[in-house]
């Protein structure tokens, strides 16, 4: 603690930005709900746009009807998008305030880009769902919220946008608040915050709105700056997939053998009893290094090199875990699948499954159902088309050591690769062992 305080004091003197943390969020909403405008507004009002970028913006011939610059151009980066005026891929944007650094994934809202949204959501701590105040909760809102719940995002902000077009009416806001609460309940979304905004005019984005005195909450930026997003994975659930083995094999470092990887979750301490999976061999941690300096303890998120007391055969694809809380080891897994390829799922072929540093062959043993993501109904099916989401059972050639996605995201998610094209064709969220 003292060490931490001292660090804070030192960095505060140097300009105070070193002890800021990072928040990753993504925006979801239907076409024209104002996602790109909202992000542009956040960047613009937080003074994160540099002069020459602004100049390029002003020179661009895309303008709003009233002649003001169209802030959406800031994120619509690809030529095809500028021509069609829509967002077709995930664009990442960066900005920072005095309190936090932010990474935004701007994802498209059309149903044909569901996979892009799943991708953006998989890399985020928080979701902003936009609702047009004039239209209220629509089919797409349900779909986007479903993806948020599927990817287990714990923090949701519902921005009710275009309040300027409904006379900043409290009634309109309350109505939408009420109907969204029903969806949140159904999808078991935990922490939902509602903010009435006008992305175009800037109300409640960075500054509190003068037009909605009835709203007592925070502005969007204030909320993003202050919300706590610590992962709630237990620290005993220590997991580190081995990426690479460091063996210098020089004279003076003849016996050096370090297992390099990033701690996915939990903490490792020197002398901890660990298990190597899937083999099940046990050992103890003899030494922990980061950047060639010894540490007593390391926490999730850190890239480290671990050393064990015993000389065992460990390589890429193995995972080191705390022996007191081992994950599931299984070759049959029930999982949610989001299909991301234009070629439909083929249950007769073998796919490759990549789960952290492990790659193994797998087959689809069973399709349980798919979900109509606009109505949330389960439908029987025998295949998955692009953007379909549903539940399947897979069988892997080698055993996998995993946690359930709802318990530990990073050790509970995997991708499917089509060996014919090498494309990433599916996202898997492990829900149960099916052995």
């Amino acid at each position: 603690m003292i060490k931490y305080l001292r660090l804070q004091w030192k960095t505060a003197k140097k300009g105070g930005i070193f002890n800021m943390d990072l928040l990753k969020f993504f925006t979801a909403g239907s076409v024209d709900d104002g996602k790109s405008t909202l992000i542009g507004r956040l960047l613009y009002d937080s003074e994160s746009i540099l002069a020459d970028q602004l100049e390029a913006l002003q020179q661009s011939n895309r303008k709003n009807d009233d002649g003001t610059i169209d802030l959406a151009i800031l994120t619509d980066g690809l030529k095809a998008e500028r021509e069609q005026g829509i967002t077709i891929d995930v664009a990442y944007k960066y900005f920072q305030t005095d309190k936090r650094k932010f990474i935004i994934a701007d994802t498209p809202g059309h149903i044909q880009y569901t996979r892009n949204m799943v991708t953006g959501a998989s890399n985020s701590d928080l979701a902003i769902i936009l609702v047009d105040a004039r239209n209220g909760v629509v089919e797409q809102t349900v779909r986007h919220s479903f993806i948020v719940s599927l990817l287990e995002l714990k923090h949701v902000v519902v921005c009710i946008n275009k309040m300027d077009m409904v006379d900043f009416s409290e009634d309109a806001f309350n109505k939408i608040h009420k109907s969204y609460s029903e969806i949140a309940l159904k999808l078991k979304l935990k922490e939902v915050t509602y903010i009435p905004v006008s992305a175009l005019k800037g109300d409640n984005i960075v500054n509190r709105s003068q037009n909605m005195s009835w709203y007592a909450g925070k502005s969007l930026l204030d909320h993003l700056e202050t919300t706590e997003v610590n992962e709630d994975v237990k620290s005993v659930q220590a997991r580190m997939p081995v990426q690479w083995v460091i063996r210098p094999q020089t004279d003076e470092l003849h016996d050096y053998r370090g297992y390099a990887g990033r701690v996915l979750s939990g903490s490792f301490r020197v002398n901890d009893k660990i298990t190597v999976l899937p083999s099940g061999i046990r050992s103890e941690i003899s030494k922990i290094e980061t950047n060639m300096q010894e540490q007593d303890e390391v926490h999730s998120g850190t890239s480290v090199t671990l050393h064990l007391k015993d000389n065992i055969d460990i390589g890429r694809g193995d995972i080191l875990v705390n022996s007191t809380h081992e994950p599931i080891v299984s070759q049959s897994i029930e999982a949610d699948l989001c299909w991301m390829d234009t070629k439909p799922l083929d249950t007769s072929i073998m796919y490759l499954l990549q789960h952290n540093s492990k790659v193994t062959k797998c087959k689809i043993r069973d399709i349980l159902h798919k979900v109509n993501i606009n109505t949330l109904e389960k439908i029987e099916t025998d295949t998955f088309q692009l953007n379909d989401i549903g539940r399947i059972v897979i069988r892997t050639a080698e055993p996998l050591a995993f946690d359930l996605y709802q318990v530990n995201k990073l050790n509970g998610g995997a991708i499917l690769i089509d060996p014919r094209t090498n494309l990433t064709v599916g996202a898997l969220m492990f829900r149960a062992s099916a052995e």
Binding site: F18, L22, L50, Y92, Y94, N123, Q243, W244, A260
Partner: protein, 301 residues
Amino acid sequence: MNKQDTTYLDQLEAEAIFILREVAGQFEKPALLFSGGKDSITLVRLAEKAFRPGKFPFPLVHIDTGHNFPETISFRDDMIARIGEKLIIGHVQDSIDQGKVIEQTGKNASRNALQTVTLLDTIAEGKFDACIGGARRDEEKARAKERIFSVRDEFGQWDPKRQRPELWNIYNGKIHKGENVRVFPISNWTELDVWNYIRRENIELPSIYFAHERDVITRNGQLMAAADCLNMDSDDQIERRNVRFRTVGDMTCTAAVESDADQIDDIIEEIKMSKISERGARMDDKVSEAAMEDRKKGGYF
């Protein structure tokens, strides 16, 4: 993630090390594209953190246009001697001599565009299946959409429509023969993040990043270092100014900014206050709004 005691720089560093180790684990013959600029120098430091006390599992590759700042070249050679890693140099002059590219003429002549050919040849010759680069998503709008593992076809082209989704921290490096992957470990860093990291880690940089007195001329409204490769004539007035460079590229297309910032703290202050984004100081992007996207499709870094 235990966010109370990890700062964002630690998070970015851990992510970059993770990505470098994925490259080592997933590819047969990776290489690190080293430009001599601050981003690739930062990559070298990150690689030391990822692989020491072992050797890097890849060589460094430098494409030398022949029009580099002399300071960059001597920095490069000193650094290689210090870290004891392998360096492979591809010379644009060789591509010119082999008739594969034609040297531009006139006042705005630059070898910047020619280096793509040399790069692709060097990749083919070395049979590299992954090339690590220091590009960042905050540099330009097209880059904001690029993946961390970005697949190039056998012509070195990037197809924004065929990008693979990247979920969680799982990177798919599977490729067909002839294809290769460009890997960008510091995708999520901003210019300021890189500078703050350089300060925190005491990373040494080529001297041209710091303010110094230099002979310059004005071209297209930008200050350029006076050098033979700029094809100067009597219209070009040489002036002595206090300048520094915000990026380190070919002398023909890297503009200087007037500055007194000769210490890293001053540079960071200057960047925070700055009204010109980093690529604004590179003339090659000015051509059109879609310039970067076009060049990437053609195999540029």
